[in-house]
């Protein structure tokens, strides 16, 4: 009985030592990679943002000049949408809104919608989606140029009624084999433009970190 208790104790201590050793190693590596990982994430976000709003057009710290908005007009109920603001010498240049198209074919599609201060689109990119490869994934610039047709469009160009795919009587090209995906993206871009139109100046005036302009 005595030896049994002793054996159990030794086993428990050994197991504990392994747990401490294992988590110690993970903690050490975490501490040493933390900065690099944060820098990578920042670089990835900035690379995406700079595709739409080139670095030479603004002089503020774009990455940190950000709001997190929840607004029914943006069609997001729970997840806040990030809004980055580009300024040059204090004057507003453009916003990049991390919109969500909730009604993609398989789940929501995350977009970056860049809108210049005058209300025209600097561009749209899909940053996350789970659309069918070969069909709906054409919204991804890696697969096709479909997303580029938004460049320089605005709420009045084309008029609101024409913010649809051609099959639905609109002005935007459709995608072979996919109807739901382009519809979802066009709707989300139109809503984002609408949101920007009503909140433009408040968006630029709000302090960093606020959730309501």
């Amino acid at each position: 009985m005595h030896t049994l208790a002793r054996n159990m104790l030794i086993s428990a201590v050994l197991l504990g030592l392994f747990a401490i050793g294992g988590s110690g190693m993970v903690a050490w590596i975490f501490a040493n990679t933390k900065q690099q990982i944060a820098a990578n994430e920042r670089a990835t976000v900035l690379r995406n943002l700079h595709q739409l709003v080139p670095p030479e057009t603004h002089d503020n710290d774009l990455f940190n000049d950000v709001l997190e908005i929840i607004d029914p007009q943006l069609d997001n109920s729970k997840e806040p949408v990030k809004v980055w603001r580009a300024r040059r010498q204090g004057k507003p240049v453009a916003v990049i809104i991390n919109s969500i198209a909730p009604d993609g074919y398989s789940g929501s599609i995350k977009l970056l919608v860049a809108i210049r201060y005058d209300g025209t689109l600097a561009g749209v990119r899909v940053v996350q989606h789970r659309e069918t490869p070969g069909l709906g994934d054409g919204v991804d610039l890696e697969r096709s140029n479909w997303i580029l047709q938004f460049n320089n469009k605005s709420l009045g160009n084309p008029v609101t009624d024409k913010w649809r795919v051609k099959r639905d009587g609109g002005e935007f090209d459709q995608m072979t084999g996919a109807t739901i995906t382009p519809r979802a993206v066009i709707k989300a871009v139109r809503n984002t433009l609408g949101y920007f139109a009503t909140h433009r100046d408040k968006l630029f005036a709000t302090a960093i970190g606020e959730t309501k302009p």
Partner: protein, 227 residues
């Protein structure tokens, strides 16, 4: 020396993790839509296998049999978490693609299977070799399956190589068929099942032909005692 060549043959062919043991199929089937994805997951798995095998072998005399499984699990989980963090730090773009499959290496049964069946009973150099060749055998299947699916699905090879080797590697992409329309089935999950099934069938055919050719030089009892 022959011990190592046996470990090599077992890992790469005779008891190949993916072909024969059929372990780790979840990540195998999920990420093999391109060669580069397969290579990335394969190398991460190989590194995990080597590190966990070596560690398990180092502590094999210290660990009591009744706590060996939890100890192996701690070792494997720590190694995988460390690799995940390191990949996130240094291969960030590839990490974003393989991201959710890296933690899944923990659940890849082949790793605990090798710890239990090999590393806990063998010395460090042999365990290292076993981890290396089991991992490379797995990687080989991942790459082959990736090549088949990418070739059929996109008509290319080595697309998105820059995710792993940096921007300079963009030119590595080989276009097999220009103006290819793509074959969706190959990229979707069912394509992975078809591809793996065909590869296993091909391996079995090769093995049968070999066995038929020289029926006397395959001494099964010897292999059994060595294992």
């Amino acid at each position: 020396m022959s011990e190592y060549s046996k470990i090599f043959r077992d890992g790469m062919w005779t008891t190949n993790v993916a072909f024969v043991q059929l372990l780790g199929l979840c990540p195998l089937l999920a990420v093999t839509n391109t060669v580069i994805n397969g290579l990335g997951l394969g190398l991460a798995t190989t590194l995990t296998l080597i590190l966990s095998n070596v560690t398990v072998s180092l502590v094999r005399n210290l660990v009591r049999p009744e706590i060996r499984i939890p100890v192996f699990v701690i070792i494997i989980a720590s190694v995988v978490t460390a690799i995940e963090l390191a990949m996130n730090a240094w291969f960030h773009d590839l990490y974003k693609i393989l991201g959710i499959f890296i933690p899944l290496i923990v659940t890849n049964c082949s790793i605990i299977a090798r710890a239990e069946a090999f590393a806990s009973k063998n010395n460090v150099p042999h365990s290292f070799a076993d981890g290396l060749f089991m991992g490379l055998g797995f990687t080989l299947v991942l790459i082959t399956l990736g090549a088949i699916r990418e070739g059929l699905g996109f008509g290319t090879l080595f697309r998105q190589a820059h995710l792993m080797f940096g921007e300079a590697a963009r030119s590595l992409q080989i276009t097999l068929i220009s103006d290819y329309q793509g074959f969706l089935l190959a990229i979707l999950p069912p394509g992975a099942f078809f591809g793996l099934g065909l590869l296993i069938a091909a391996k079995n055919i090769i093995d049968k032909r070999r066995a038929a050719k020289k029926p006397l030089t395959v001494p099964a009892p010897v292999a059994a005692t060595a294992a």
